[in-house]
């Protein structure tokens, strides 16, 4: 009895120790797995950033669908901001706030705050509604996008700190439009990053300091050019349908060919390139005209003045340059008009317009400056006419000046008509002022010629009256002389 009791109490410590060891091993394995899990979760967390954007984009797309569904006047935020709060989507939630952009008709500010996996993010879009019944496919244009802090989600209607920041950024965008377009043209031919960095004002990349073995398959990446599309010739005769068909048969032409399609300018990067090329042509021609007008007048003024025989060939060159500049200006407006039809954005269109108007006005100023110089002598018409001694010379001068006025008026009309074409183009205040001043200067030249003609007419009348009086006096003297002789005889 005692022995059996003793046997039942006999136990060692092997099992507890083994059990403890197992617990330790399991604990270590668990902790390692947890660490791995932590690393994995970091990877997943980083992808939430992308996911969150998609969530916000989906929320915005839902709103755009609502805007598309009706007229702009029936938009959900027409009279007050439209809100959605805590809407579940794609495993997260979003808050939406939409309001009319303060001070901008047909524009809306969209704020979407997403909450995903414990993180909250804010996305902002400013859109413009294109209220065009004939173009229902592209009514909503995104003017701006920006990601922000979730604390910037607006609580009330009206301009917020965030929307003011957006206004500033949009202003910066418009200011940089022209520079970026010009930069894009200069980056057109580059083939290496080094060349591109030179254009962008960046630092030249440092080369490898020594030769390293090349990686397997590490061949230099070739600059793979854009594919060129093959020219497809028109079908040959055999491909033209020859079945007689119903009705009277019409003999096929001997050499059937496709009708020639009118060559419509397709605004692309190439057309922007043409635009820039045209700008240079105009600027050069207008500068040349100005230079030649001034040189011609300098030559005419040499010596005692009136050296027009030598000056005229130079002035003719000036006129040729002026015609070239004006033809170029006409071409520039046509090119720009076709380019504007397909402008990628309102800012791009405005930048193109400003570039064209700036070029046109600069050329206009150069031409008017040259013409003013060449015609400056008309301001001294009184001095010129004072030197006239007979009516024949005065008449000749008057006829010449009338012809000059006729040509000048026609030129003024043509130039002003040309400048009228950019009336609707966007212009900076400086350009608009410069254009008004140039128009005024050209009108002043015309007025001076008109005044000169009036002076010449007055001088002609004066000389004619004088000559008439002299003639009469002479006749009277002759009559008196004749009478005396007769009386004497």
């Amino acid at each position: 009895m005692i022995a059996s009791g003793t046997n039942s109490r006999r136990r060692g410590v092997a099992l507890p120790i083994a059990f403890l060891a197992l617990i330790l091993v399991i604990g270590m394995v668990t902790s390692i797995s947890t660490m791995n899990q932590g690393l994995k979760s970091q990877v997943f967390h980083s992808s939430n950033n992308q996911w969150s954007f998609l969530l916000a984009y989906s929320a915005m797309s839902r709103l755009l669908a609502k805007i598309h569904a009706g007229a702009w006047a029936q938009r959900p935020f027409a009279t007050a901001p439209y809100r959605e709060t805590g809407v579940p989507l794609q495993g997260g939630t979003y808050d939406l706030f939409v309001e009319n952009t303060p001070g901008h008709p047909f524009q809306a500010d969209i704020y979407v705050k997403t909450s995903l996996a414990g993180a909250s993010r804010l996305y902002f879009w400013r859109i413009t509604f294109n209220d065009d019944l004939l173009d229902v496919s592209n009514r909503i244009i995104v003017e701006f996008f920006k990601a922000g802090e979730s604390g910037d989600f607006p609580a009330a209607a009206g301009p917020s700190r965030f929307s003011r920041t957006v206004d500033d950024l949009l202003a910066e965008r418009a200011a940089n439009q022209k520079k970026s377009d010009e930069m894009a043209v200069t980056l057109d031919p580059v083939t290496t990053a080094k060349q591109a960095l030179e254009q962008l004002g960046g630092r030249a990349p440092t080369p490898f300091t020594k030769t390293y073995p090349s990686n397997p398959g590490d061949t230099p990446y070739p600059n793979r050019p854009a594919p060129t599309f093959p020219v497809v010739p028109p079908p040959t005769n055999g491909e033209v349908p020859t079945s007689p068909g119903p009705g009277p048969s019409t003999p096929l032409p001997v050499d059937p060919s496709f009708p020639t399609m009118p060559a419509a300018p397709i605004p692309t990067d190439a057309s922007m390139f043409d635009l820039n090329k045209q700008v240079k042509t105009i600027t050069d021609a207008a500068k040349l005209a100005n230079e030649k007008y001034n040189t011609g007048k300098d030559v005419a003024d040499e010596g005692t003045g009136g050296n027009w025989a030598e000056a005229n060939p130079i002035l003719n060159e000036a006129e040729e340059a002026r015609y070239k500049a004006m033809a170029g200006m006409n071409e520039l407006v046509s090119l720009a008009s076709s380019n504007l039809l397909n402008a990628p954005s309102a800012e791009a269109a405005r930048a193109t317009e400003e570039m064209v108007s700036s070029t046109m006005v600069t050329a206009y100023q150069d031409i008017v400056g040259g013409v003013s110089r060449a015609f400056e002598d008309f301001g001294k018409s009184k001095e010129i006419t004072a030197g006239l001694t007979n009516s024949a010379a005065a008449q000749e001068l008057l006829d010449g000046w009338v012809g000059t006025l006729d040509g000048l008026t026609k030129s003024q009309q043509a130039t002003n008509d040309l400048m009228d074409k950019i009336d609707t183009f966007s212009k900076t205040p400086e350009v608009a002022t410069a254009q008004a001043e140039a128009e005024k200067a050209l009108q002043a030249v015309v007025d001076s010629v008109k005044q000169a003609i009036e002076d010449a007419k007055a001088k002609l009348a004066e000389l004619k009256a004088k000559e008439e009086a002299e003639k009469k006096a002479q006749e009277e003297a002759e009559a008196a002389a004749n009478g005396g002789t007769q009386g004497g005889s």
Partner: protein
């Protein structure tokens, strides 16, 4: 006597309840077996942990750089280079405020020395149109890249093909990044 006998019996039992040699051998055997299995398991876990950690770090680094690149490129509005259908080792685009940005590879000499192979950095530079270099506009997006190409498949999207390298491993990734389409949503 009986009480004395009972007390002695309890003392004997106490002595007999101690660790015998056999029991000790069994315990040692079990502990050695478990330890051996545990050690081998730990070694394999350690190896896979190290490999996985390296791989994960590499992926994390690539993902981080990718996020940076995506963030930059997504806020771009217009591709300047490459043109559609063109593949280049650099990318030039305009951003939301019409600043022109270039992403390009620059040789990373210290990393090349360490790995004894050509290693590059992915650098972004954003021009301020003054024509002069401003270091504040330059950022290193990725430290160790074996190669990277940009292919424009559409006017609003660019495909990035990159190989990120590490001391022991290499990680390739292919991504299609869409630029912000300010011309209109479809």
């Amino acid at each position: 006597m009986n009480e004395f006998s009972a007390s002695r019996q309890r003392r004997d039992l106490w002595i007999r309840a101690g660790v015998t040699m056999i029991e000790l051998l069994v315990v040692i055997g079990i502990v050695v077996s478990v330890s051996t299995i545990g050690m081998r398991f730990m070694q394999s876990v350690g190896k896979s942990q190290k490999a996985m950690s390296a791989q994960t770090n590499l992926q994390m680094e690539a993902r981080r750089a990718f996020d940076k690149a995506v963030e930059q490129v997504r806020e771009g509005t217009e591709l300047v280079r490459p043109y559609t259908g063109e593949t280049l080792p650099f990318l030039i685009f305009k951003d939301i405020v019409n600043r022109t940005t270039i992403l390009y590879l620059e040789p990373n000499n210290p990393a090349s020395e360490k790995l004894n192979r050509r290693v590059y950095k992915l650098v972004s530079y954003r021009t301020n149109y003054t024509g002069s270099y401003d270091s504040r506009n330059e950022k290193v997006l990725l430290d160790a890249v074996r190669g990277m190409t940009f292919t424009s498949l559409s006017p609003n999207g660019v495909q990035v093909n990159a190989a990120v390298i590490h001391e022991q491993d290499e990680f390739q990734f292919l991504a299609h990044i869409g630029l912000m389409n300010l011309g209109g949503l479809e």
